[in-house]
């Protein structure tokens, strides 16, 4: 078996202080099976071009600092095998290395991480325990095993920001909370030791918060720790339902689905915008309604009730 081969690395280069725009440098190095992307680019930095810039520290998938895009997908350089990536190359044996998406570039693969810090601050991403400041370190602040199980997976997050980079909504609006901050929010909201969840939920319910996730699951797919991030996002939204925080468009929109299923079994598409945004809020959707009407596609106000609806209503009665 061929255990060593020449591999090309097409690496993103950009120093905003000097370069007019980003460009790519190609490097050809001989790589053995078993070498990680991080070791390969360390070789390039040590032996070919010392100006190549990127972050790394633990080299063991723990610190999260070497997240970058490898063949277009955000992942940790230190836990990604070069030979595994050969299957994902667009051009044979040419691996593309780029910085994370959705960040400003400081240099090459080094991105400005400040927006992550700002979001963690905005959404109160830490536990404020019940015990007094003076007693911290003296008294235990216990969480039960069952309580911890709920947040166990979420506590695995190493803040590498691969999810932040892959997030569709982040690419559309940098004000969006981000999957990373939503995951942390879930972890804090569900932590029985915390005391600031009312405050945190109020911020989460604001614009660009928990209701703006578009369910694309790119964060879940990218997570280097296999954390089911979408479960956490839905968990925060579920918390809004548990607390009956029913004032947001996101709440009303989701609630309309439950109401319709209970009533007829089917979604009443014709009125869902009005039920979400109110009559005045939905006025902005008039051009859409006109386009659909012109094509004879505006749905009926009357939705046929499914046969057997009594059984569906029974489910809603029996399962709370």
């Amino acid at each position: 078996m061929d255990e060593k081969k020449d591999i090309y690395f097409k690496i993103y280069r950009y120093n905003p202080e000097v370069d007019q725009k980003p460009f790519y440098d190609d490097f050809k190095i001989s790589v053995e099976r078993g070498v990680t992307i991080l070791r390969a680019i360390n070789y390039i930095k040590d032996h070919v071009d010392s100006s190549l810039s990127y972050r790394f520290y633990c080299q063991a998938g723990i610190c999260g600092s070497c997240a970058m895009r490898v063949n277009g997908v955000s992942k940790l350089a230190c836990t990604t095998q070069v030979w595994d990536e050969l299957e994902n190359c667009k051009e044979k044996d040419m691996i593309t290395i780029e910085p994370l998406n959705n960040f400003e570039i400081i240099r090459d693969m080094i991105v400005d991480y400040k927006p992550v810090i700002n979001k963690l601050e905005k959404y109160i991403s830490w536990v404020t325990p019940k015990i007094k400041q003076a007693d911290l370190g003296k008294k235990e602040n216990i969480i039960s095993e069952a309580e911890f199980k709920v947040i166990d997976a979420a506590t695995d997050c190493i803040l590498c920001a691969a999810c932040f980079s892959e997030c569709s909504m982040m690419s559309a609006n940098k004000e969006y909370i981000s999957p990373l901050a939503l995951l942390k929010a879930f972890r804090m909201v569900k932590d029985s030791r915390d005391t600031r969840s009312d405050e945190r939920m109020a911020v989460l319910n604001q614009d660009h918060g928990m209701w703006d996730c578009t369910h694309c699951y790119r964060c879940v797919e990218a997570c280097v720790k296999n954390i089911p991030i979408m479960d956490a996002i839905q968990g925060v939204r579920n918390e809004a339902f548990i607390r009956k925080q029913n004032g947001t468009e996101g709440y009303k929109h989701a609630n309309a689905f439950a109401q319709d299923i209970r009533k007829t079994g089917r979604l009443k598409e014709a009125t869902i915008a009005i039920r979400t945004k109110g009559i005045f809020g939905a006025a902005g959707m008039l051009p859409f309604a006109i386009r659909m009407t012109l094509r004879g596609r505006m749905p009926s106000m009357f939705v046929k009730t499914i046969p057997g609806i009594k059984h569906v209503r029974n489910i809603f009665r029996k399962i709370k």
Partner: protein, 282 residues
């Protein structure tokens, strides 16, 4: 080949053309679809957080209706696929949840056992029917046309729920199908990206930016059509196309077609028969 056919809300209302373009050619391939008239909305990727247990029971019931017929279930909507497969995964791996929903389903003479598979129409055509067999049925090869495949999120992700049909970072089944129909595939960056549909009402500006990205990408790749296996993606890309393009300060037109329509085109049906003239961008 016989399947229980899950009726998606959008195909019953806003996108009827997707439904009747499917029903027009299934008999040509010898595929029989038994519509599940008693099935409900899957919850649209919302009921799972409104009430997780009700979400399980509703979709467990939907699948149990197919099980009662002794058939596998197919859907032609990505988000319905996700909802049904998500519920199925939980019910198949957490016996206490299955017991909980079966206690209620019993009153209707139903039982969820997990024996019926839930598949997307695309997977059925590619895997169960087979592309060689499909290619042999083509009467109007789409040789002169270039298609940009747009998969939509909920047929790719989360990948552990999607049966291994595609690598979400580099899918190919839709391209394989386009080629089997004689069509040409254009390479572009948006094929596995998000259309923004699920936030079209609560965050419209962001959503149309996402659909605009895909449309511009397909225009620049000189595609004749975007083809999608998801009616929700179709809605974002077609009905909101003008809004999407305006976020990019771009003009142009990119017709979007449903998966059943591209199959119908290759089987010799006209655009009118397939309802392509019902789209906003024609």
């Amino acid at each position: 080949m016989k399947y229980a056919y899950y009726l998606s809300c959008i195909n019953e209302s806003l996108s009827k053309e997707a439904e009747y373009s499917l029903n027009i050619w299934t008999k040509d391939l010898g595929i029989e679809l038994v519509p599940l008239e008693e099935g409900t909305c899957c919850g649209g990727s919302n009921l799972d957080f409104v009430n997780p247990d009700q979400f399980l029971a509703i979709n467990g019931r939907n699948i149990a209706l197919a099980e009662k017929l002794g058939l596998d279930m197919i859907t032609s909507c990505n988000t319905c696929l996700l909802g049904l497969r998500h519920a199925k995964h939980i019910l198949d791996t957490q016996p206490e949840k299955k017991e909980m929903i079966n206690a209620v389903l019993k009153e209707e003479g139903l039982e969820y056992t997990g024996k019926s598979e839930v598949k997307h129409l695309l997977w059925v055509l590619v895997d169960d029917y087979g592309l060689d067999k499909l290619a042999a049925k083509v009467t109007n090869p789409l040789t002169d046309l270039k298609f940009a495949p747009f998969y939509g999120c909920h047929i790719l992700r989360p990948s552990p729920l999607m049966g291994g049909y595609d690598n979400p970072n580099n899918p190919h089944t839709l391209e394989d199908l386009i080629r089997a129909l004689g069509g040409n595939v254009v390479e572009y960056n948006s094929k596995n990206k998000c259309c923004g549909f699920h936030t079209l009402i609560v965050a419209e500006q962001e959503s149309v930016k996402l659909s605009g990205d895909a449309v511009v990408d397909a225009i620049d790749a000189k595609a004749d059509y975007i083809v999608t296996p998801c009616p929700l993606c179709h809605m974002s890309l077609d009905a909101y196309q003008k809004d999407g393009l305006s976020t990019k300060n771009r003009q142009g037109k990119m017709p979007i077609i449903h998966l059943p329509q591209i199959v119908g085109m290759a089987l010799g049906y006209t655009e009118k028969q397939l309802g392509i003239d019902k789209h906003v961008v024609v």
